[in-house]
Every structure is written in structure tokens, then in C-alpha cells.
């Protein structure tokens, strides 16, 4: 008895569909069982909401100085919250004014948008390229694998921040180039993860079956191997978002990332660093924002890892 190709595909899909749905259910259930992951998800959800509705939440334009204010002492003005006793005739600034007389709260809120975009975009670029490299290396093996992975080793051999600064120096300072630099230095991590997954999956029976049925290498990679190797990538990518936010903040702090007047948390800390003694709140709030966002993605990443690891399934 012989099976036609479409019927084989249908059979394979039917076989894999059910466990996948079950895996998703298990994963979600496992994540929700972990308090830390739930905390991470909650923070992330809040960040996403803040980022999406930044224009509504922020009471002022983030990049506009209060040009009408010219009184001495308004620079680095401490928070003025009416509920906490700030006189009603004073304009409310929940986190005070920064060194350029801009509303710090509005800038922190808009900073969420910038930071989330940075994290997601950077990791997406790194995952796409890293996955491609890792998949090709792992599936091809031999010389191709050797060349690609040694290239990744070279990139990994440099401290990531130093390499990123070098790249930005060559490309020119700016947020886009900083994101690109962080993406480039992150590629090897994803390439390695992908390669390892491909190596373990490529000898599986269903891959051998596909190969025996004459499916092309691209087809096998994209339809058979990749879906089964995505789990570790998702975990690594989630953890990577937090790292990317932190690294871009670091680049902005040293002056090669976001450029004025962008409301980016690392740059905000750098801009107001000399008001450390007189207006420490200007360092505190963006710092807390960075910490929370990195923490959120790390908690989610850890939760995902535990949830997707069959050995840890309860």
C-alpha cells in the first residue's frame, strides 16, 4: 500500500496538531502556575498598555520644554503631586521637571514605547538572522557549519557592549544604529540555540520520512525542523528582550545610542546625571523603569523556560 503526498501531509498534520494544542495548553497552565512569571506578565502587560496609550497617559509632550517657565530653580523641580500636598496653583508634575524643564513623567511614559520597540525590534532582527544562520549551519553540517559557527565564535569573543560601541562608532551614533549593533552582537546566541535544536531534530524519524519522500531541504527546514526547534528560541528571545533594553540604555547612557531629545530611559539618566545631588528623582524614575522592564522579560523568560521544559512539567 502506498500513500500519496497530500494524504501523508494530512496524516502528519493530524498527528502533530493535537499534541501542539496540548503543549500550548500545558505551557499556559504551567506559566500561570508560577507566581514570578505571572508577576512578569503583569508588568509586561502594564508596560505594553503604557506604551500603547502613552499619548493619552502623558500629561505633556515628552520633548517639549516648558518654555513659559523661567523661574530659577525650576530645573530639576521635584515632583509636585496635588494629592500629596503640592499647592493646587502649581502645575502637577508627578516626577518633576528634568534638566531641560520637560515633564519627567511624560518622558518616562513615552520611554516605555521606545524601550519596548527597541527590545522587540532588536530581538526580532537577531532571531531572524540567527535562526537562518543556525538552521543552515545545523542542517548542512560539514564545512558550511564550521565556517558559520566559527564566524559566530568570532562575534561572541568580543564583549558585546564593546563590540556594539565599535559598530555604532562605525555606523554613526543614533538609536537605529544602536539597535542594529545590539542585534548584530546578539545573533550568535540565537544561531547557536537554533543550530543545537536543528541538530537534535534533523535525525528524527519524521524528518527522515520527509527526506525519503523527496521534500526539498528548504521545505524540510521550514516545515519540519523549524516548528520543532522554536521552543528554546522563544525562551531565549524573551530573555533577550530585557537584555536588549538594558544594552541600548547603556549605549544611550554613554552617548552613542538615543540622541536628544528622544525620551529613552538610558539617555534620560545620562542627561540628568549631573543633577544627581540636587534632583536624584530624575535618575531614580528612569532607572526604576529600566529595572522593571528588564525584570518583567526575565521573569517571563524564566517562566517560559520552565513551562516548556518537559522535564519540569508537573
Amino acid at each position: 500500500m502506498t500513500l500519496s503526498q497530500p494524504s501523508l501531509d494530512a496524516a502528519v498534520d493530524a498527528l502533530t496538531a493535537s499534541p501542539a494544542s496540548s503543549l500550548r495548553r500545558d505551557t499556559i497552565r504551567n506559566i500561570l502556575r508560577q507566581r514570578t512569571a505571572v508577576v512578569g506578565l503583569t508588568i509586561m502587560l502594564l508596560l505594553v498598555l503604557v506604551a500603547v496609550f502613552a499619548d493619552v497617559i502623558a500629561p505633556f509632550e515628552p520633548n517639549v520644554s516648558m518654555l513659559d517657565l523661567g523661574l530659577p530653580g525650576t530645573r530639576g523641580l521635584p515632583p509636585c503631586i496635588h494629592l500629596l500636598g503640592c499647592p493646587a496653583d502649581q502645575t502637577q508634575h508627578l516626577m518633576g521637571l528634568d534638566s531641560n524643564l520637560r515633564d519627567a513623567f511624560s518622558r518616562v511614559i513615552h520611554g516605555a514605547r521606545v524601550s519596548l520597540i527597541i527590545g522587540l525590534a532588536t530581538v526580532t532582527v537577531a532571531i531572524v538572522i540567527g535562526t537562518l544562520i543556525g538552521a543552515v549551519a545545523g542542517y548542512s553540517g560539514g564545512r558550511t557549519d564550521n565556517v558559520l559557527m566559527r564566524l559566530m565564535d568570532v562575534v561572541l569573543s568580543f564583549p558585546s557592549l564593546i563590540l556594539a560601541i565599535t559598530i555604532v562608532t562605525v555606523l554613526g551614533t543614533g538609536l537605529l544604529n544602536a539597535m542594529l549593533a545590539i542585534a548584530i552582537v546578539s545573533i550568535p546566541v540565537y544561531a547557536r540555540v537554533m543550530r543545537a535544536s536543528v541538530l537534535s531534530v534533523r535525525e528524527s524519524d519524521f524528518v527522515t520520512a520527509s527526506r525519503a519522500l523527496g521534500e526539498s531541504s528548504v521545505g524540510i527546514l521550514s516545515r519540519r525542523i523549524l516548528p520543532n526547534a522554536l521552543t528554546p528560541l522563544i525562551v531565549q528571545g524573551t530573555l533577550g528582550i530585557g537584555g536588549a533594553i538594558l544594552e541600548v540604555a547603556a549605549l544611550s547612557f554613554v552617548g552613542v545610542g538615543a540622541q536628544p531629545p528622544t525620551a529613552e530611559w538610558g539617555f534620560m539618566i545620562a542627561s540628568d546625571r549631573n543633577l544627581f545631588f540636587s534632583a536624584p528623582h530624575l535618575i531614580f524614575f528612569p532607572g526604576v523603569a529600566i529595572t522593571l522592564s528588564v525584570l518583567a522579560f526575565n521573569l517571563i523568560g524564566d517562566g517560559l523556560r520552565d513551562a516548556l521544559d518537559p522535564r519540569l512539567n508537573r
Partner: protein, 580 residues
């Protein structure tokens, strides 16, 4: 034959020695006055005549002709301790000029050995120092500190502290933390908002510094759209300088009514700057064809100086004002400090640049001639004849009164041409640990650490805003380099401690003729360089000549710009084509 007893021979020798001693003679040479019957003429001492150097070696500089805009005609060493400066025109500010640190004196042999005529930039003299000052260079740990040790052979009052260490940080907050922790004994430029913190700390003392400086926004007219005077005028009208002063200057600062601070004689002759008129500014922009604004850059270096503490916030506010008031989109470009200065001097800054100037000596020429005179750098592009003309006339005036009309003209022409917009004269301060005796701020930013005693400690550590680009200050213009040089190097004159009066240093006197065109300087005797060489007049001539003559084989240093010499003395001898 019998021999005399031993004691008689001994007695004879002793008597002979006593007689010689009584006559003032010696046992080795006969005295010519010791009763000799025939006087023997003494041999004359064979001292070679002093070969004093004259520069130029033949003739004199072509004053006012052949493209020579300088004011120095000839420099001669007439004997070992006398140097004569002949000028094309009178120079009433000659003494404060020669007191300024770029004109410190180097030893001839040192210059010849540390500058390679075949080399180009970054000569050995940039990182090695052989001066006559109270401190001598121990080691320059690049990126960390410059350490100096007391010069025990100093001709004047010795340094009170054995060791002087200069450190740097561009962060005002870091400087303050270092001072509070006791890691340093003094810091430069207390942050604008940190004055109360320092004043409230009993372990610290603050030393206010008068605002003998100016912070400005400059334009280079070689680049579009700044080649159009209406654009420059529009920006001058469209920037709210009061707002900048109120929010970002240190307490005690003043708005700049003129480029030069008014406490300098003739600094504030002519019309005052001060209009803020957005409608007029927009009309001018529209007239120039930029009704919808344009794109440009704001270029600066992220360092703190006496004239500005935090340039980032200035740049951001300027960016906001340009956009809001004039619809000009300006991106921000931060350059490394030395690169920025070199680019400014070379006329390469194609946007609006933020820069400033601290007084080097209290004369209007230090502000106006250096920036806008015939010998100025290319910072603002092509020179303005209606500025350079009056400045040349003003520089040769013999007193404040007869110079005033020329500076009125020059200041009015500066306001009309707008090569820059002066913003403020900023008051600043140094801060020290409370037990530092003799702590002071200099209005010229050349604090004299040799006169300070840091409690019972054997070293004094001072933290300034940046690392000196080089230590050959003839070829430096950054105050952070000059302050370090001034601890080790000296000129013919110096400035009084914490003051602005020029006082004799390596010269005991510099006396002018009646026309103020010839200055005869008599050198102090017994002055030695750190390597033991003795100061003489030829050292003075060569130290000036290598700066003055752009074709001199030793006219080389860190980048070879030697911007102070033409800025203060009108121009180079044999100016390179680009400087003409």
C-alpha cells in the same frame, strides 16, 4: 753631613704655611701681589662673546606688506640677559600677552631635541616638559592623571607641597563626589545646582570665580545657510538668551551684552546685544528664503568649563528654541573635546557650534582679536573687514581712551555681522577641602597650586574638567592644558596669584620705549630649567620664533595650529597659504 732633627723640618713647614695663610696666598699658586719685585700681568679670561640670536636672522618682518598681518617686527637677544621685542605698531597689552602661558620659555636645546623638523604632529615636546616653574613633570599617566613634583631648584618661592596631581572628570557630579570623599583636595567648576551642597558642607570651602568669560553660539560663514547674514541675524533674534541664563547658568552669571565682559576696559563699547524678537527673526528668515526653516546641526563637546557647566542641556534647549521659535530642525552632534577644538580652528564646523572663552589676560584683544582679528582662526569662516580694521586700530592704541572708538566700531560690526551670538558671562567656582590653605580661584582659571598647603598631606590633588590634549602649551588653546602647563612653565611675565595683574617672572623688567613699539626685557639671573640648563636670552628668542614663523623648521607641536600667536600678535611670519 748631619741631618736636622724631624721636628725642625716640621716646624719649618708649619711656619711657611702660616706665613702664606697670613698673606692670603695659597700653596699652589703664587700671589701676584705677594711682594714680587716685578708685577706679572694677569692673563685675561677667555670668555667667548655671547652670540645673541636675532629673528628674523636678517632684516625684519615686512610689517603691513606681503600678506604679513602680524605686529612683531623683530626679536633680538642683545646679550645673554636682554631680549628686545620690536613691534610694527604699539601694543599696550604687551605685558599681559607675554605673561600668558602659551608664551612660556623653553630651553633652546630642549626645543631642538624634542621637536623633529622632519616630523609632523604629536612631537615629543607635547608629552615632555622642561620648564622653569615651581613644579616639574613626574609622569603623565594618559587617561588618568598628570603628576608633578616640587622643583627644588626653583628660583622663587618653592612649592609648599611636595607633589601636585592633576586629575580630570567631565562629570560635575563625579568631581563633587571625589571632593566629598576626600579623594581630591580641590575641584574645578562646581555644578550649577551643587553650590548649596558645597556651601552647606563644613568640610569644604567654595571659592567663587568672576565671570571673565563668554559662552556663545557660533556660525561659520563658509557653510550654507550661514553664509547669509540674515540667517545669522535671525538666529540671534530668535533665541531667548534670558531663558538660557535663568535656567542653565550658575548663580551670579550675567547676560552677555557684548562678547567681552564689561569689567574689561573697552569690552562693552558700542551697541548691546539683547533683542529677543521671534516675529522679526521669522521675517528675516523668510527674506533669506527660509520661511519654513531649514535643517542644521548643533555641534559641541561634552565638557564643563568656566563658561558653561553642562553643554548637553544647553544644546537641547537651543534645539527646542530653534524648532519652536524658528522652525529650524537641528540635530545634535557631540564631538571629542580636542577634535572639536581642532575642527573649530580649522573652520570645519558646518552647523551652529557651542563654544566659549575664558579670559587669558584682562585686555579686550584677548577676546576680540583672538576670535575676530586678522590673525584669528577659521572658526567663523571668512574674516569681516569691518571688524578686523577697527580691531587692528584698537590694538595699537596707547591708552584705553584712544582705543575706545575703535572697539565701539568693532563691537557694532560684530553685532551687525553676527559671526556668533554671545549668551552669557558665567560666574563659576572652585571648591576645596576646608583645610587647604591658600585655596583660591583665579579669574583667569590659572590657579597657582604651589602656594597651597593641603593640611598635613604631602600632595595636593586637583580635579579639573578634562585631560589636557598636550603639554606644549604654545600649541594648545584649551584651558585644561594651560592650567597644567602653568604649574611647570613660566613666561617673561606672569599673573599675580588669584589676580589679573601682570608681574615679572623670568624677566625682571620689560620696559617699553615711548611709542610702545620696542620692549626691552631684562632676564632674571640664576634661573635654570628642570634639566639644569641655564636660561638665557636666546631661549626666549627661539621660544617665540618657533611660534611666530610658520615656516620655521621647529614650528611643530601637537597639531601645529599655534592659534594663540596669530590671535594675539596679529599673524604668523610666513603664513601658510590657508592662513592668508
Amino acid at each position: 753631613m748631619t741631618r736636622s732633627p724631624w721636628w725642625s723640618r716640621t716646624a719649618l713647614v708649619a711656619v711657611t704655611m702660616i706665613v702664606f695663610a697670613a698673606c692670603g696666598g695659597t700653596t699652589s699658586t703664587a700671589s701676584p701681589s705677594a711682594g714680587a719685585a716685578t708685577p706679572v700681568p694677569s692673563a685675561p679670561e677667555s670668555v667667548a662673546p655671547y652670540e645673541g640670536m636675532t629673528y628674523p636672522e636678517s632684516g625684519e618682518a615686512p610689517c603691513g606688506t606681503d600678506g604679513y598681518t602680524g605686529n612683531v617686527k623683530r626679536i633680538s637677544a642683545t646679550d645673554a640677559s636682554t631680549v628686545v621685542f620690536e613691534l610694527c605698531n604699539p601694543d599696550v597689552a604687551f605685558l599681559p600677552k607675554v605673561a600668558f602661558s602659551p608664551f612660556a620659555i623653553n630651553d633652546t636645546a630642549w626645543l631642538e631635541s624634542k621637536i623633529d623638523p622632519a616630523g609632523t604632529t604629536n612631537q615629543a615636546i607635547v608629552s615632555e616638559v622642561n620648564g622653569t616653574g615651581p613644579y616639574k613633570l613626574d609622569v603623565w599617566n594618559r587617561g588618568s592623571d598628570v603628576t608633578m613634583v616640587r622643583n627644588d631648584a626653583y628660583w622663587g618661592e618653592k612649592a609648599k607641597t611636595e607633589k601636585l596631581i592633576m586629575r580630570w572628570s567631565q562629570e560635575g557630579a563625579q568631581r563633587l563626589v571625589e571632593l566629598q570623599s576626600g579623594a581630591v583636595d580641590g575641584i574645578d567648576n562646581v555644578g550649577n545646582t551643587d553650590f548649596p551642597t558645597v556651601e552647606a558642607n563644613a568640610d569644604l570651602q567654595i571659592q567663587p570665580r568672576e565671570g571673565l568669560n563668554v559662552m556663545y553660539f557660533g556660525f561659520n560663514n563658509a557653510f550654507k545657510p550661514f553664509d547669509d547674514v540674515r540667517v545669522r541675524q535671525a538666529i540671534a533674534l530668535g533665541i531667548d538668551r534670558e531663558r538660557l541664563l535663568t535656567n542653565f547658568a550658575a548663580p551670579g552669571s550675567e547676560i552677555a551684552t557684548h562678547f567681552t565682559p564689561c569689567s574689561i576696559p573697552n569690552g562693552c563699547e558700542g551697541e548691546a546685544w539683547g533683542q529677543f524678537d521671534v516675529a522679526a527673526a521669522r521675517a528675516l528668515l523668510a527674506e533669506a528664503g527660509f520661511a519654513d526653516g531649514f535643517k542644521t546641526k548643533i555641534i559641541y563637546r561634552d565638557v564643563s568649563r568656566g563658561y558653561v557647566n553642562d553643554q548637553n542641556v544647553i544644546a537641547v534647549d537651543l534645539q527646542a528654541q530653534l524648532k519652536t521659535n524658528l522652525n529650524i530642525d537641528a540635530s545634535i552632534e557631540v564631538q571629542e573635546s580636542a577634535t572639536f577644538i581642532d575642527n573649530a580652528d580649522a573652520g570645519k564646523l558646518d552647523g551652529i557650534h557651542i563654544l566659549g572663552w575664558g579670559a587669558d589676560y584682562p585686555d579686550v584683544t584677548n577676546f576680540l582679536d583672538y576670535h575676530f582679528g586678522s590673525g584669528a582662526t577659521a572658526q567663523f569662516g571668512a574674516k569681516f573687514d569691518d571688524i578686523t580694521g577697527p580691531l587692528s586700530q584698537g590694538a595699537i592704541g596707547t591708552n584705553d581712551a584712544n582705543r575706545a572708538p575703535f572697539y565701539e566700531q568693532a563691537n557694532n560690526a560684530i553685532k551687525a555681522n553676527v559671526p556668533m551670538v554671545p549668551i552669557w558671562h558665567q560666574a563659576s567656582a572652585t571648591a576645596y577641602r576646608a583645610d587647604v590653605e591658600g585655596a583660591h580661584s583665579s579669574p583667569l582659571s590659572n590657579e597657582h597650586f604651589a602656594s597651597m598647603t593641603p593640611g598635613t598631606r604631602t600632595q595636593i590633588v586637583f580635579m579639573q574638567g578634562a585631560e589636557p590634549p598636550g603639554l606644549y602649551c604654545a600649541d594648545e588653546s584649551d584651558g585644561e592644558a594651560l592650567r597644567v602647563c602653568e604649574q611647570m612653565m613660566e613666561g617673561l611675565y606672569a599673573f599675580e596669584i588669584a589676580g589679573t595683574a601682570a608681574i615679572p617672572a623670568l624677566a625682571e623688567t620689560c620696559e617699553p620705549n615711548a611709542e610702545l613699539t620696542v620692549w626691552t626685557c631684562t632676564l632674571r639671573s640664576g634661573v635654570t630649567f628642570h634639566d639644569g640648563a641655564t636660561l638665557d636670552a636666546n631661549d626666549v628668542v627661539l621660544s617665540y620664533a618657533v611660534q611666530w614663523d610658520a615656516a620655521h623648521p621647529l614650528h611643530k607641536g601637537r597639531d601645529g595650529s599655534f592659534s594663540y600667536f596669530p590671535g594675539l600678535f596679529g599673524g604668523f611670519l610666513n603664513p601658510p597659504p590657508a592662513a592668508e
